[in-house]
Amino acid sequence: MSLEVCNVSYTYHKDTPLETKSLNDVSFHVEPGEWVAVVGHTGSGKTTLAQMLNGLIFPSSGEVIVDGLKLYPKAPHLKSVRRKVGLAFQYPEHQLFAETVLDELMFAPRNFGMPEDEAMAHIKKILKAFELDEKILLKNPFDLSGGQKRKVALASIVVMKPVYLVLDEPTAGLDWKGQEMLLSMLKTFKDNGTGIIQITHDIEMVLDNCDKLLVLEDGRRRSWGPPAHVVEELADRPAKGLVFPDVLEMSLSLRRAGLNVSLTWSEEKLVKDIEKEVFSCPS
């Protein structure tokens, strides 16, 4: 069981004057219960990659395989794959359309033929996880606050019980508290066995949470692996548009200055390393 992306490339407007190569020979994989973050600058191909994982677009070359099922246009298993791989676009609240929150949350379960009572029971659980009151079910989604709309939109995707959850910049437009809440919720989903693929341009946000990091640069895979490995790989030549956390930048500067500190983004660890270095110095 895994979601595998094998050497995929994608070209928009092929054979026209507007031809643009968005992805070029990108590979990675995600297991259920694993958190993978895809980071890169604007135009690095992150969103294109996200859409491929759900079978909304198909690679010009290469393969996307979800739990052994290869994705291709009009594949008979496309709908079941879309249920397995939940995809939340950036600003998912823009997709709200129903008259009540209940109808909005029931949209996907009805499309996928989930029994109503099973869906209802799941909706109640999801509402609790998203810290939403059940009274909200009868409200019009357009009357909700921005934060509530975001929660409802995300809940309408999670309600499909996806095995993998792809989130394109899920924290865009949220305040610090909202971001914290969302990340902790994603942690819960991960602990429950959902594979998380978080797309972001902010490496600082994901370093602590993700198991693996995929760094894209101009549509190519620049680095892939556990965060520590990726950071080590990018230390000498950072990827385009990627801003390291201040602590990581400082540890890099100290290392360049000759101090024996580890390459870390943890404040405590860096302080400990500096203390160790200072006290080990012959006076």
Partner: protein, 270 residues
Amino acid sequence: MPFLDHLSLGQYVPANSFVHSLDPRCKVLGVMALITSIFVASASPWPYVIWSAFAVFLCALSKISIKNVLISTKPAIVLVVFTVIVNLFFAEGKELFRISFISITKEGLLAGVKMGLRLYFLILFANMTMMTTSPLELSDGIESLLTPLKRFGVPAHEFAMMMTIALRFIPTLLEETDRIMKAQLARGADLDSGGIVKRLKAFMPVLVPLFVIVFQRADELAVAMEARCYRGGVGRSRMKPLHWTAKDAISLTMVSVICLGGVVLDRWMS
């Protein structure tokens, strides 16, 4: 489902070509002359040969391949086919064959083909104008052409501004539509199968958010324009004033000659 993965009708294609460099007024007047001649001359098939050759010549001059131009006119084919069918069924004359109670006549067939071709060429040349002229240039050109009508109370600037905004937002709205469609497909929506009623119903989850976004954008744009002190065309200067040069005059003359040639050839051959 790559909804936007081809050139759409009238999509501007930036390029460094002779046609791109022409004054937008020259292109607007040229396409108007072509459309007029297409509707005046259609008795014989020869003018169509001239216009086809001219379209190929324009493609070469504008550095846009014929294939791309033809692909971008694909959405208009439905309208052309509909026009042909309407003319086919409702013209009286010598019966060629009959399907149940519908009689297909020779006159109907000829009228259908003629009307379809006229409409297709009209769309083709208008499309080529839009492919080689940016929306901003196009509305500047139209505003300039309408300026003499201002003294008769025609709101030339307002009309051009409306056109600019409409043209500017077409690609944005197409992108939004694409995004919303994909978001609903990802939630299991079935937009491609079933009859017309089922498909229309299935499109509700796309249309509702789209309308919400359209009104939001319109509101935001109005506020942004007011915040930048927009108060109509009075006293407004231009960043890129239009310049009519010799090559525009020569090009327009050549197009006029071709149009006239088409009309004369049509009259002569028929």
